[in-house]
């Protein structure tokens, strides 16, 4: 078994032979080279573990050979021991500065030569081991980082799955409303284009004026919605008034007027309602009203749909680069609340207290997850019935977000454990137990803090985040 591969460079054959014999005896593999050129050629074919290098050589001296070897990446790390003659001027400073690690002087002391060779070979071996270990560790670290990211991602996906049902509802509603809105809009288009021009042409002047005067009222912004009892009362009054004015088909007329939110101030209308063409005249007004309503509905519905899509996009964004961005903390929380809207509809009262909304530098994607996680936990803790309070305040250069639920609370003995990975109070299969661990990691990544306070009926998770340099 070879103890190592050594290249010996010396222009004097006798020296080569002495050293070769000495070292072969110890079990080393030797490659001799008679000058610098041959030495450099030799390293191209086989990389030695160590080089013994004579200094005084014709053409290329030892220092030059050494410099060349150190300049090449492949050979840079090979330890070089200089050989100098006792009566030669030996510049130790130069020897070490060009990269040599040691020197031996002729005549050689066998034990000394062997000792130095052995030492440097061992050193080299250790260096290589260390390098290999480092590389392994770096690879492991990378792998861990990726795994961590994957865990965070899969937690996210789990949440998303749960929310999809509620979100489908949120999108289907506006969709249905928009579809329905097309009815009055198409109706209006057909009516106003096909029938109305002719009809208006033959209408008496004063009726034309009355219609025009009523249009602003028809198109005016609607007031707050009245309760059923209020509507009922007003309708009865309206119908009495219509009867008093001997209007025909009181029930139908009252329906139409009620639809348009008209219960009184009937002066302008009465002349129209009393005419022969009352039906057609009323039609002009309520088709216009429905048309307007249709447009407004589309407006509202499409805004709702884009809000939910935006919230989802925000949540699903894959931030591979992971750069910090400046976001408004309240906006960020509101986005998450949109996604949870449906859970709130069912017996959950949401109290929001935003004392301030500072801008903070953060990994928006991950901060989203903090709110998702805490709000979800809160909802679960109260079994989807109760009060959820969200407060945002600014304390010095920190923003404090408190999420409070009215659930039964966290027992004193497990309070310290809740952030442990895989610790969960839920039955097996429900929840990974990683939620709070991930929350903690994200908060710490932002140099923030989590504080938990709990008593039955009131549990608060308070997240403190530094606002960060602008």
């Amino acid at each position: 078994m070879s103890k190592g591969n050594i290249l010996i460079v010396d222009d004097i054959l006798a020296n080569l032979q002495v050293l070769t014999k000495m070292l072969i005896k110890q079990g080393y593999k030797i490659r001799p080279a008679g000058d610098g050129k041959l030495a450099l050629k030799s390293v191209q074919s086989i990389l030695p573990d160590l080089i013994l290098l004579d200094i005084k050589m014709p053409e290329m001296d030892g220092y030059q050979v050494c410099e060349k070897l150190k300049a090449d990446d492949r050979t840079r790390d090979i330890p070089i021991i200089f050989i100098s003659a006792l009566n030669d001027v030996f510049d130790k400073v130069k020897a070490f500065s060009v990269g040599g690690v040691d020197y031996i002087t002729k005549p050689f002391q066998v034990e000394e030569v062997l000792a130095r060779v052995e030492t440097h070979l061992q050193l080299r071996e250790l260096q290589q081991k260390l390098l290999a270990q480092n590389q392994e560790l770096e690879a492991s670290l990378e792998h861990l980082k990726i795994t961590q990211q994957e865990l965070i991602q899969s937690e996210k996906m789990a949440y998303l799955g749960q929310l999809v049902a509620g979100i489908a509802h949120e999108i289907n509603n506006p969709h249905g409303a928009i579809k329905s809105s097309l009815l009055p809009i198409n109706d209006f288009k057909n009516y106003y284009v096909a029938q109305l021009p002719d009809f208006l042409h033959f209408l008496p002047e004063e009726q034309q004026q009355a219609i025009l005067a009523l249009v602003p009222r028809i198109l005016a912004k609607k007031g707050p919605r009245l309760s059923f009892k209020q509507r009922r009362q007003l309708k009865r009054k309206l119908m009495r008034q219509l009867e008093q004015n001997q209007i025909k088909n009181v029930a139908i007329v009252a329906d139409r007027l009620e639809d348009m939110g008209i219960y009184d101030n009937l002066e302008l209308l009465l002349s129209l309602l009393k005419s022969h063409e009352s039906e057609k005249l009323l039609e002009i007004l309520y088709k216009l009203y429905d048309f307007q309503n249709g447009l407004e509905t589309i407006d509202i519905a499409s805004e709702r749909a884009s809000r939910i899509v935006f919230a989802m996009k925000t949540f699903c964004r894959f931030d591979k680069i992971g750069t910090k961005v400046r976001i408004e903390i309240v906006d960020n929380i509101e986005t998450v609340l949109i996604l949870y809207q449906n859970y709130f509809k069912q017996n959950v009262k949401v109290i929001k207290q935003y004392d301030s909304s500072p801008l903070i530098m953060c990994y928006a994607d991950e901060i989203n997850q903090v709110w998702m996680n805490l709000i979800y936990n809160a909802l679960q803790a109260m079994h989807y019935k109760g009060t959820l309070k969200i407060e945002v305040t600014q304390q010095d250069n920190q923003v404090a977000v408190s999420i409070t639920d009215s659930g039964e609370g966290i027992a004193e003995e497990i309070k310290d454990r809740i952030f442990e990975p895989f610790f969960t109070t839920k039955p097996p299969g429900e929840g990974s137990g990683l939620g709070l661990d991930i929350v903690k990691q994200i908060v710490e990544k932002h140099e923030g803090k989590i504080v938990v306070a709990s008593k039955p009926g009131e549990t608060t998770f308070k997240i403190l985040l530094p606002i960060g340099s602008t």
């Binding site: 289907n172 249905g176 329905s180 009815l183 009892k229």
Partner: protein
Amino acid sequence: MSKPIILCVDDEITILDGLKWNLRKIFGDAYSYEFAMDAEEAMEVVEELEQEGEEIQLIISDWLMPGKRGDEFLIELHQLYPRIVKIMLTGQADKDAIERAKTQANLHTCLLKPWDNTEFKNALTSGLDKFHLNTDSH
């Protein structure tokens, strides 16, 4: 006020408007249309109208609403007013809720939002036919 009534219940006013337009298109002035924004208001409306001697023939109710959900509401309603035909409307299908409404409230049918206009028309006309069948046989 003696026209038969169709009552619509949904927490979104845009949906209620949409239903109104759809119903008007199909039935015109043959029916009176009433609207409520949650189960509580809907119950109020039903009680008030029944007291006045009006006839509610059909109720279309959303499932996901604040307070009481649609299936619960329709089941309660069925106990008090079994003759009213009930249709549930939903943006997402909760299979259990629909099952419950079918067995405990005699749900006529369930429509998903957004609905197909033909499907909607069929659901309503068949529902109203059912009402007449039940009333006539009494």
